[in-house]
Symmetry: C2
Subunit: 341 residues, 2 copies
């Protein structure tokens, strides 16, 4: 039994391309004591993965050349040497990697833990999107940093993306106004359909700062930033007093080195508005995963939380899925489905 794998072929300078990885065939491993063998059904593509293929250090170790590309996914247990897991169980793991089969150690601590997928709660791939890392990111980012109050105005960049669409719905549940920024009218139509009150197409808007001022006449109380770059600058110039800014992602500038992210510092607005800006890495909050999943699932049952996926089919398309996600060509959470039902 062969195990196809995508290995890191080069640390990209600038955007990743299909040549960033190469397809290889390895062996399927044997689960040792306390381990399981998982067949990958779904892989998740997320912007944080761009940071993992830099040669330098990020908040966690990156992928070395020749290693299997890191990435989370969902799969089926096809062999088990762990008393708590049996064949046929569905597992979600951040440590799955871009491969068709993985030997995993379920009881590792924290982010490395293998999580059980409850098929009664949702389709298994939900554990990669609104019940998984993006959902928990939106949940914690809003509840712990953004802290929207009734009547607040919440602006979300990449609003139809995996995190953004949940942020907008939590804003509405919190009694706040939600303003979406995205790249196409089709994405913005979707944002309106899930409750966003106002939308801004940043590609067709001449004066983004003025458009945000118009959409947010009393200023921006919560800015959930998934993009960085010029969108970030335009929102920062519209902060309300005592605003909260969640720095969650920076997909607009992530291909540049950190010391080349040049633009508006906004220090005048920060002082004038006494705003708080905070970086968010969801894995710091992984101990609250169960709480977040429980709440997200109940919101979904109540009909208050919906979610849009963008699925490509076939293991060979994983790099393509990553590249299009980084270019903003996906519409909804980017997934790859390996095994068709």
């Amino acid at each position: 039994m062969k195990n196809r794998q995508w290995l890191l072929a080069a640390h990209p300078q600038g955007p990743a391309t299909h040549d960033t990885w190469r397809l290889a065939e390895g062996q399927v491993g044997e689960p040792g004591p306390g381990q399981i063998l998982v067949k990958t059904h779904w892989l998740s593509l997320d912007p944080y993965m761009r940071g993992r293929i830099n040669p330098g250090a990020n908040y966690t170790a990156g992928v070395r050349l020749g290693q299997v590309m890191q990435g989370g996914g969902v799969g089926e247990v096809i062999a088990s040497n762990h008393p708590g897991w049996k064949v046929g169980d569905i597992a979600e793991a951040m440590t799955l990697g871009w491969q068709e089969y993985a030997v995993l150690t379920p009881d590792l601590p924290g982010v490395a833990r293998v999580n059980r997928v409850d098929p009664k709660l949702a389709e298994p791939q939900a554990y990669l999107s609104w019940l998984g890392m993006p959902g928990i990111t939106a949940y914690i980012g809003m509840l712990e940093i953004g802290r929207p109050k009734p009547g607040d105005t919440v602006v979300v960049s990449a609003a139809s993306g995996a995190v953004g669409q949940i942020v907008g719905q939590i804003a509405k549940m919190s009694g706040a106004r939600a303003v979406a920024i995205a790249s196409t009218d089709e994405k913005l139509d979707y944002c309106r359909s899930i409750g966003f009150d106002a939308t801004i197409n940043y590609r067709t808007t001449q004066d983004l700062r003025a458009a945000i001022a118009e959409a947010c006449p009393r200023g921006v109380d919560v800015f959930f930033d998934n993009t960085g770059g010029p969108i970030h600058d335009a929102v920062m110039m519209n902060l309300a007093t005592f605003a909260r800014v969640v720095i969650c992602g920076r997909i607009a500038v992530v291909d540049k080195p950190a010391d080349e992210d040049i633009g508006l510092r906004s220090s005048a607005r920060l002082i004038v508005t006494r705003s708080t800006v905070q970086g968010l890495v969801v894995f710091d909050w992984w101990h609250r995963r169960e709480e977040a999943i429980g709440r997200l699932a109940s919101w979904n049952r109540d009909g208050r939380l919906t979610f849009k996926e963008d699925v490509l089919h076939g293991f060979e398309r994983v790099p393509e899925a990553f590249v299009r996600m980084m270019a903003g060509q996906n519409f909804g959470k980017q997934l790859v489905k390996l095994v068709e039902a």
Copy 2:
């Protein structure tokens, strides 16, 4: 009896100059019911005043052309129509203005209140420096936003300035290491003499980012930023995990419009380090003035808090004092003394 006053003559484009104000002679007012007449002894020059002479709105209303320049000071009550104040009392007021005599209403709320100077606590001009607005700024900025812990590394820009020198001493009292950034070796010698552990001359240092990394081998836990600009960028690239950044001042870029403060956005460092950046306006915390003054005074009595002033003499030198303070040519808290003992 004549009342010399400095009136705003022009909203400066770029740095303020002597021509930003013009000297005028007005009448000395009569205190109405509940008012006092104060003869100015000391005037305080502070960077926040630059924001007050912009034509646009800041966090509070600015000075209009032809109006007396705003600014705090200390003076002696020479006539009173208020039961709680008598001739000879010493008063401190943010509302004194650049004039030799002022009619004040002591019982206005908040920042507009006239404060009593306790001559037993300190020299009266201390109420403009370490017992006044700069002292309270350092106190609140460190206790509420910076929150230094024992073993933390605290970096302060404009470290020998009115706020910076107190920040450094509070860092040391908190068990933290304190690193000073300033413009001359003389200023940095002073910083060492009051307890700073390491110093960086930003004018003579080739690679500021590397110098900070060397002075802060485990990163910067608290960055108390009084300058903004390139110093800000260099420190931001050295933040430790879960750092706190106090955006207190931006004297390096304050002469530019807010949307021209261009430089490093630091979003990568903010995410990687999960840092918090917060703007500080001390007047939000004015209800804690008494607490801050009490604590600062006790630290001074204990010998744990010292302070350096830079005094010019004569009312005619007030604009000159402002211009040199904005250019960083002062050494210690900039004051003007109007009445010699």
